[in-house]
């Protein structure tokens, strides 16, 4: 449908600037879902200083670019995460954090956590480990930056285009769906 705006073949100066800016200014919605949130403070503070890469925390999803899922997601939490994701402005990216987001990790047979985040939200980058060290986190961000400049970090477009699929998968686990519909 829509042409990929971040296409690296695009030679328009505006696009280059935009892509550069998006790459170097990643505002993170620090949404501490699981135990992984404990790794965020060291990442941000003096020792690892993620702000070097233009990565800063933002308190509201309206301002944020990156949704950081830091660990396992209960179905109850998933609902909030989806809502936060839908409140973010495109282009937006999701980083899955730790093995729980990949396959459920140690919660693989839990009755109320989700197994694979990718079924519900379009994850751009997974950082594995339990927990991933700050170095790994930063590495994941750098990977994301690369993807942005390549134009491959297009999870938000995937989500927009396959909304029905995602929605049906989300509704499978979330029984009391009381959210306004994400209309585009």
């Amino acid at each position: 449908m829509n042409p990929n705006i971040n296409d690296k073949d695009s030679r328009k100066i505006v696009d280059i600037i935009q892509s550069y800016a998006q790459k170097h200014s990643l505002w993170v919605l620090a949404y501490g879902t699981g135990c992984g949130a404990i790794e965020i403070p060291p990442t941000m503070t003096s020792r690892y200083d993620a702000e070097r890469f233009g990565i800063t925390g933002r308190p509201t999803p309206r301002m944020a670019d990156v949704l950081l899922i830091t660990g396992y997601l209960a179905t109850k939490t998933l609902k909030r995460v989806i809502r936060s994701y839908e409140q973010m402005q495109s282009p937006k990216y999701v980083i899955g954090f730790g093995s729980c987001t990949i396959n459920g990790g140690m919660y693989w047979d839990s009755y109320n956590t989700i197994k694979s985040l990718d079924h519900y939200l379009p994850v751009d980058v997974y950082i594995n480990g339990c927990m991933p060290r700050p170095e790994a986190v930063i590495s994941g961000f750098v990977k994301l930056q690369e993807m942005i400049s390549n134009g491959t970090a297009n999870g938000w477009e995937k989500y927009r285009d396959n909304l029905d699929l995602y929605r049906s998968q989300q509704k499978e686990v979330i029984k009391n769906w009381q959210m306004p519909d994400y209309n585009w």
Binding site: H24, S25, S46, D49, E51, R52, T60, R62
Partner: protein
């Protein structure tokens, strides 16, 4: 009135320069903050990158008309304020409307944007925004008292309400208002801290508890415009304080030095201080700065 093309150019270029300077200062402030916190910190251009990124957002959320217009109000006020400020002494290019740069007019036009922003924030329906606005307006009542005292004392001292004439009075290093009227300047500078909104007076925007307060529902183009406005406004405020207390600037370099030093002052005070609660900061301003300002006024009145 002959129409001057260079003036028109001035009208366009001044805001651009102002926002460039403003963003640079914001970037510098982040860098300095990082250094103080023993971090490396982002590059100086980080604020530019951020705002460009925000402009490049593909979607936006709109809660209603006032949210739509709030940032426009803000940028209108910022640019109008700037246009009525004598940015550089005797410069035709930067003069704009400043030959009529009346101080009281400036005080009022500066509120225009804050009012617009507050309205926009209110429209979003987010309780955090309203709390932020409530705190911000309350604090404004606090610091406006010493602020106006200082300005009135200076206006009376200079026997003028025109900024250009006030600058003209401060000809030469020793005639800066800071030295002519130390008390008024002290009160004014304490109020300036509140005006800049850094710690310890940043409770309206406290990110951790209020989700950044008023702008918490703004994103994309709205936040971008707001940031642009904020950069211009920061610059305008700095220029105003430089003009009033530090004798203005006769060239651009001097202006940059003076404004940056003033900016650093606010920044460093913020970096080493915790945050006041709203009523604490109001009461702070109503105590010492107000007393100092009143003393300054009395002195001026006594001198005649």
């Amino acid at each position: 009135m002959s129409f001057d093309w260079i003036k028109l150019l001035g009208f366009i270029v001044t805001p651009l320069i102002a926002s460039a300077v403003g963003f640079t200062y914001m970037g510098l402030s982040r860098k300095i903050t990082a250094r103080v916190q023993n971090r490396i910190g982002p590059g100086i251009s980080q604020s530019f990158i951020d705002v460009v990124k925000l402009y490049s957002k593909k979607t936006a959320i709109n809660h209603g008309l006032m949210q739509h217009m709030g940032p426009v109000f803000a940028i209108t006020a910022s640019i109008t304020t700037l246009l009525f400020l004598p940015v550089i002494k005797d410069s035709i290019f930067f003069a704009n409307f400043s030959f009529r740069g009346d101080l009281i007019f400036l005080i009022y036009i500066m509120v225009f944007g804050q009012l617009g922003m507050a309205l926009g924030a209110g429209q979003t329906g987010n309780p955090n925004s309203a709390i932020g606005v409530s705190r911000g307006l309350s604090q404004m009542v606090g610091f406006k008292v010493p602020y106006v005292m200082a300005l009135v004392a200076i206006m009376i001292h200079a026997k003028s309400t025109n900024l250009q004439e006030i600058i003209a009075v401060q000809d030469g290093f020793r005639n800066w208002m800071v030295f002519q009227m130390p008390l008024a300047s002290l009160a004014g500078l304490l109020a300036y801290l509140g005006y800049m909104g850094y710690a310890p007076f940043d409770v309206p925007f406290a990110p951790a508890e209020l989700a950044s307060g008023p702008p918490s529902e703004f994103g994309g183009k709205y936040l971008a415009l707001m940031m642009t406005s904020r950069s211009i406004f920061t610059f305008a405020k700095l220029v105003l304080f430089v003009d009033v207390f530090f004798g203005g600037a006769s060239n651009f370099i001097e202006l940059l030095i003076k404004t940056f030093l003033l900016y650093l002052f606010a920044l460093f005070v913020g970096l080493v201080n915790p945050r006041f609660r709203t009523e604490q900061s109001i009461q702070f301003w109503w105590k010492w700065p107000t007393a100092i300002g009143a003393l300054a006024l009395l002195l001026v009145a006594w001198k005649g």
